[in-house]
């Protein structure tokens, strides 16, 4: 029986605690009697017979007819799937998406369906390489569909392959992939790593155009989402749900397949990273010392390759399919079961170690804008109810935050860092002054469509993700970060955690309460 999440009150006997620092980590001592550490629940058991569970779910969907009855000869079937941003880290082969899509194709073949397209729902993310697609879908699907042009990646800037379905009562345009919109059935295959994923957000975001996405990816929705993990209190989700209504009326029939995975994040050599420190045995301690000594002497590029080579042992804990909203309700419950940790009250200072990966730097570099987005956009939002840190409190992150960008994946990020952040770091100001120019830049558009670049507007969206955190916190400190880079982000650099706590005392006083979010593995704090 896996143990539930746990909040440890730090006292003098508490050992130093693991803090991630990008492609490295450190052990830090937190002040006794006023600090606490939130540990994630232990990984839930995965389904033994995954293929059997998939088949059973396809034959017994929620509020919809079984998949085989929706398939008929001569129909247009489109299968869309989540891109490389999920799950994190990538899972060991075979990926869930491969298993599900193979099961769907089995049924489609039996039903005599010839016209099948498989589309990676990229939204404005970078296109995936052949290796990445093969990892997600397996060689069998790739070899059968890609050479014939029946497996491809959604292009949010291709006017010929987008179709406007209508507008919501709020004037939000719903424009999605034409092939998906004109299909007799759209099967969407989802991996719900966190409660934010799935539901109408799959189709309304993953298969949408910039024209449509801008309605829910903006400072207004982001600052009014409390949090992204709670769809009922998230403006981002409300907008997606309104778009879902339009799709329900004017779009294709959607068969939603949602899955949850457990939080078994690290494979054998790195498994100590998910353990509670006082439970580290001799081998774990030796592994930590060896890994730390090795990483201190390893060039950054090599360390990055090592960490991005990690394939997580996490796997499927539930699958449900059928009608979008009914399915998402069950999925969210299953995600909560794995991730929710009850926490009493807010804190003055929230500390977090920023790891090597976020959804937007898989096989890439965690650049300074992504550090901000991971800390203030994702980790800050890992709450339900109230934010972990009180309004006006301090967030302390640990990360090297070097001025380093992936020139192929993040070209517009470089210009955003050099041209926009030098002018302003205020989200609504940079939205008003710069977003349109970046979003409509022909060169970025060209790179997004033909190379492996994120869309020109993507760094803005990353900044907006953190806008609620920016608005909420009195100060943000990055420990161990490159000082000029950290200052460019509008944050305060500090050399050590003790320095950071000292700096924070200007805002929160001399003996503030401190909470450390011990993640990864992912968890969500249910703040009472």
């Amino acid at each position: 029986m896996p143990r539930p999440g746990f909040v440890l009150e730090v006292d003098r006997s508490t050992p130093p605690i693991l803090f991630w620092r990008g492609e490295n980590f450190s052990l830090e001592k937190l002040p006794a009697d006023r600090s606490r550490i939130i540990y994630a629940p232990e990984p839930h058991k995965v389904i033994d017979d995954i293929d059997g569970a998939i088949r059973h779910s396809l034959l017994n969907p929620i509020d919809m007819d079984p998949l085989p009855t929706l398939l008929f000869p001569g129909m247009k079937l489109t299968i869309a799937f989540d891109d490389i941003s999920l799950p994190l880290p990538k899972m060991t082969r075979p990926d869930i998406r491969q298993r599900i899509i193979e099961a769907v194709l089995d049924m489609a073949a039996e039903a005599g369906v010839d016209d099948v397209h498989i589309i990676a729902a990229l939204a404005l993310h970078r296109r995936m390489t052949e290796d990445e697609l093969r990892h997600q879908l397996g060689d069998r699907i790739y070899d059968a569909f890609a050479p014939r042009g029946m497996l491809y990646q959604h292009d949010a800037e291709d006017p010929d392959n987008l179709v406007l379905l209508g507008e919501t009562p709020h004037g939000e345009e719903v424009e999605i992939n034409k092939r998906a919109a004109e299909s007799d059935l759209l099967v969407y295959v989802n991996i719900n790593l966190v409660a934010m994923d799935g539901g109408w957000k799959s189709t309304a975001t993953g298969l949408a155009s910039y024209r449509s996405l801008r309605h829910h990816h903006n400072t207004h929705t982001m600052q009014n989402s409390r949090s992204f993990m709670d769809a009922h209190k998230s403006e981002l989700h409300k907008s997606n749900w309104r778009m879902g209504e339009v799709m329900r009326k004017h779009g294709p029939k959607i068969f939603q397949i949602e899955t949850t995975v457990n939080n078994d994040t690290f494979p054998k050599p790195f498994d100590f990273l998910a353990k509670r420190e006082w439970e580290w045995n001799g081998r774990d301690r030796a592994k930590f010392v060896a890994a730390k000594a090795g990483l201190n002497r390893t060039p950054a590029r090599m360390a990055r390759n090592i960490f991005h080579g990690i394939e997580a042992p996490h796997n499927m804990t539930s699958i449900q399919c059928g009608e979008v909203e009914a399915v998402h309700k069950v999925t969210t419950e299953n995600v909560w079961k794995q991730q929710l940790v009850e926490v009493q009250g807010q804190t003055d200072i929230l500390t977090m170690g920023i790891p090597f990966i976020c959804p937007y730097n898989v096989n890439s570099i965690m650049n300074p804008i992504l550090v901000m987005c991971t800390g203030l956009g994702y980790f800050f939002n890992l709450y339900r109810g109230k934010p972990l840190v009180r309004e006006g409190g301090v967030v302390i992150m640990t990360h090297p935050t070097t001025n380093e960008f992936h020139p192929v994946h993040h070209p517009s990020y470089i210009d955003f860092f050099e041209q926009v952040l030098t002018e302003t770091t205020v989200p609504h100001e940079l939205e008003a002054r710069f977003e349109k120019r970046f979003a409509e830049d022909d060169w970025y558009r060209h790179l997004y469509r033909t190379s492996y670049a994120y869309h020109g507007v993507h760094p803005f969206y990353m900044w907006y993700w953190g806008s609620h955190g920016l608005q909420h916190c009195g100060k943000v400190i990055i420990v161990g970060g490159d000082a000029p880079t950290v200052r460019r982000l509008g944050f305060t650099p500090a050399s050590t955690l003790n320095d950071a706590l000292e700096i924070a005392s200007d805002v929160v006083g001399r003996s503030p309460t401190i909470t450390h979010l011990h993640t990864p593995p992912i968890m969500v704090a249910d703040v009472k």
Binding site: P94, L105, D106, A109, E110, D143, A144
Partner: protein
Amino acid sequence: MARDYPKQKTRSEVSRRVLQRAAGLAEGLEGLAMRPVKLWRTKGFPYRAPSIPRGVDVPAKKSTLGADFDTDFARGPGSRFVRRLLVAGPVNGMVRFLARPKVEGVDRLSDLANNDAIGGVIFAPNHHSHLDTPLMVTAVPKPWRDRLVVAAAADYFFDKRIKGTIAAIALNAIPIDRETTSRKSSDELRRLLARDWSLVIYPEGGRSPDGWGQEFKAGAAYLSAKTGAPVVPVFIDGTGAIFGKGMKRPKRGHTRVVFGAPLWPEEDENTRRYSERIERAVTLLGDESTSDFWTARRRAASGASTPLTGPDYTGWRRQWALYEHRKTGAAGQRRRQKRRWPDLG
């Protein structure tokens, strides 16, 4: 004055004398060696076997060959250690050199590998060559490779003690009667499956006589139904062209081993139907290996897959079809010919 030079010996004379001396030496050695044999031949009982009096029935000796060959020793720790060395070294080297295998579909077995409740697994490949067994013992993935038993024809591999011992140690072969339904063979296999040994069994019963497959016999299905062990269909492509039945020496080539999703007996399904299902699964894998996942499934659904047993017609057309069929498979992969003429631009 002409000098009288000693006569030069020619090379042929020298070699003739050497051969004569060698022949003389060999005769001497043979004489020495035969002396005790001749002496022994002069001796009668008890130095030689007794003659049998007329009219007396001698009880038949219990056979220890064929299906009765006892292979338990091959699963002891010593034999397992030797086998592990043999499989990792010479067997693997030979397979890589001759067959250059490409192994696919192992991901379909991930649930089996992660499920501790499942012990033995029955691998059911098609069978074209003696090379299939070495290929399987190197291609079967790790959780099962170290506890793998191969069902081998009792009348072929276990007809001589030395042959049977080598087959048992090197491949963990276990004799199975092809001609008659032997309760002993099936009991032994069931016992091994129950003890978490996995099994490679060729449901066709023997190598293909003409390059096309043969109808599946129900052995694998029967064992699965009786023990609850899953059957993993496997398609082996290309070994027939390397060392098929009737070939005197192997010819290097390419092979492909495709593992399919595990199968279990369904409720109210008899052994014959289950066996047909296994055959269909192997056929589908065969089609998948020569076309692609989606095409193979569509063909299977519409009943248009090329059957393992080949076309119905006989004679040269059947061989002709085989030639065309092989061109699409692993055997069709040939090394690119070297350019014979200089490239003059």
